[in-house]
Symmetry: C2
Subunit: 209 residues, 2 copies
DNA sequence: AGGTATTTAAGGGTCACTCCCTATTGTATG
DNA sequence: CATACAATAGGGAGTGACCCTTAAATACCT
């Protein structure tokens, strides 16, 4: 009986990075058949057709992001091991990921050797997480569900460099309302008093807003 | 007479990306010998030893960044064509790059086909710049030479979330001095009046500070 | 129907940042 | 040596952001 060939679907919207991952895996893992996806939607389709042993997903992708793809794979109960490959930014998403049943999580930055290690672990039924990830887990994570809709609206507008006055005008409410929202947001985030701390927080976290 | 083999030095501190670039070039450019460097210092040493036909440099690298490497190559008058490969961030550096005698400039994002095109152009003595780059050229660029040393210090400290009061204490000067510096910086940047605009500007531009 | 959360908004306060002007000192640079 | 720029710093005004409390109208949930 011929052993079934190891199939891996790899999804990354960055073509050079995709090429790099493929190249590394081809060199380090023997007898593997690789399928490349350039975005989340493509990845999902490939996975449901091919049913690969392993699915490697970038998180930031157009159409469907990696997390959404993983959710759909899990919902559809397709039997494939899921590994996330990510840049360092998405720590805010880690809580979401942590609740899912994921087999591996690697940081792109350091990962030539880690990729094959991770693949081997996962094939042996073990989970594999980059050490660097664990630092992020320690960090206090932002749970956006603590905010109300209005608060999130205000946050987004602050991130767009709007002042309270401008936000008030845009939403047809009083400045005082926006003021209240800002205050409540500050409370929820436990920001230090004074010092424009919300403004700073927003700008430091704007990528995830 | 055997034609000399085409030699290319490629420098990128991101291992997967480096692998990707190498893989793409190996596939698309025949009979090429590739040398990989993981940082600027390594790249410079390789270039001076190997004297490759083409040198491809990432801009953001440890030890020596791509621009510094290029400068040293040009100073040493090593005969190699220089191509920059970059993520989209470094628009502020474009003026610096533009003044140098560089043969190509590609954005990493879109560049599977662009890489071989660029290499071919450069081998034919033509220059090659990503179309997307040209958008950046139109954008008003920040020329940091307009700032004095103190102003740059202040900018850096603002980026570190310091208030004027804290900056004053750290530099053993009066708050009013910092105030003046902030004011002068605002003038130089033509920031809109009021609205914490310097604070916002700093946070939006903090990666380049 | 009663409790809880959200949205709205006001009053009244402090502080940080911005604006604009002036002025002194030191230090390059022509 | 004169002019220019840099760094320093003061006065004084105005605005934006944050602080805190209270409270009404909705909405939603059990």
């Amino acid at each position: 009986m011929i052993p079934e060939k190891l199939k891996i679907v790899i999804a990354d919207d960055h073509p050079l990075l995709l090429e790099g991952i493929v190249s590394v895996i081809e060199k380090e893992v023997l007898g593997v058949e690789i399928f490349k996806a350039n975005n989340g939607a493509e990845a999902l389709q490939m996975v449901s057709e091919i049913k690969p042993t392993i699915t490697i997903l970038d998180i930031e992708m157009p159409f469907l992001n990696g997390i959404e793809v993983a959710k759909k794979i899990l919902e559809a109960k397709i039997d494939t091991k899921i590994i996330f490959l990510t840049l360092h930014k998405e720590r805010s998403l880690f809580n979401e990921i942590n609740q899912m049943n994921i087999d591996g999580y690697i940081l792109k930055e350091f990962s030539i050797s880690e990729i094959s290690q991770c693949i081997k672990s996962v094939l042996n039924g073990k989970k594999y997480f980059s050490k660097e990830i664990e630092q992020f887990i320690e960090e206090p994570l932002i749970d956006f569900s603590i905010f109300t809709k209005s608060e999130i609206n205000v946050l987004k507008l602050i991130a767009q460099e709007k002042t309270s006055k401008e936000i008030a005008e845009m939403l047809f409410v009083s400045i005082k309302t926006i003021d209240s929202h800002r205050y409540n947001i500050c409370k929820k985030l436990n920001l230090k008093p004074k010092k424009n701390s919300l403004l700073k927080w927003v700008f430091q976290n704007s990528p995830i807003l």
